[in-house]
Amino acid sequence: MSPAPEPRPRNRQAAADEASARALMRSPAAAFRHGIVQSLPFLVVIIPFAVLFGVVATEAGLNLAEVMGFSVLVLAGASQFTAVQLLSDNAPAIIVILSGLAVNLRMAMYSASLLPWLRGASGRHKAWVAYALIDQSYALSIQHYERHPRLSIPQRLAYFGGTAVALCVPWMIATWVGATVGQAIPDEIALDFAMPITFLAMIAPMLRTPAHLAACFVAIVLALVLAGLPSGLGLLIAAPAGMATGALVEWRTERKEARDAGIPG
């Protein structure tokens, strides 16, 4: 009942406007530095993860050049772990490649969602963006672009460049550290299970919706049922079945919500 003004929403709005004005004023060099600074918290995850990859891949029998080949040329953690796991299971190369690519298919979504923001960029710039398009550089950039829709193309590219440098270079260096350390780790330590634990830790936070849970459940059941098939083949059946399940559950949920909201469909 009191007529006292509520200052908080207005202050927040003002702060947002101010942040946007600051973002719009930045030179490309300043936007680049801004991208670097905002990426730093992610290094808490990226660096240990890359060290772990270096250690595990070395333990699996890869030499330093091969380990670095993965982190520089593939530059995608989950698929690197997937490939090394399947290689140490002696799966055929074609299955290793298909599984690794399947893990990375989500990046097509990132590519599609960045395009409206980078349409005016040159082909060469877009080619570099594609190289450094990892989960974290995508997540940071798309948030930044959506929060400040009036940024210029050079400001957008520079911000992305900052995140790319701050995230990808440490990924490579930390891989090298892990591979070097890995050679010194005695065999008694149970590193065989480092990879399963890493995968589980990556999956668990993704299980947000019934559709994600259903996709995960179907994939697990089929993978266990088909475990007798030649190495890696069960995965190529179980994973698409899980994906289809997730898509189906999502579609049914949406249809039900639309019906409940009274929208004919």
Binding site: V45, F49, L105, A108, F193, P196, A204, L207, A211, A241
Partner: protein
């Protein structure tokens, strides 16, 4: 690992080029073309389908025990998932799993 250096480098190069093309797809070649809705829907579930399918047999039949189910590794897997779901923090989940495994292997 039985793969020869040539096989390993083939995997690295083809996976590298293929991954690059996936990332470049819409920014470069496909442009504004829309993928059908069901394709986008399936793409959303690639990580939660591929990674569990890869990891499930490794948890149930660990290579280190010659494929025999192992309580320490099962418990470590359960601890990792539990902490990951509750905290949504990948590094904390890895730590929980690693400590559980090391602790149980030491005790059992």
């Amino acid at each position: 690992m039985q793969a020869s250096p040539a096989e390993i480098w083939t995997v690295i190069l083809v996976l590298g080029v293929g991954t690059y093309l996936i990332r470049w797809s819409f920014l470069g070649a496909l442009g504004d073309r829309d993928l059908p809705g069901w394709v986008m829907r399936m793409l959303r579930y690639t990580p939660v389908a591929v990674l569990p399918a890869l990891v499930a047999p490794l948890v149930v039949w660990p290579a280190a025990t010659g494929g025999a189910a192992d309580p320490a590794r099962m418990a470590a897997a359960a601890a990792t998932v539990a902490v990951g779901v509750l905290t949504r923090n990948v590094m904390l989940a890895i730590l929980a799993g690693g400590i559980t495994l090391a602790g149980l292997l030491y005790l059992l």
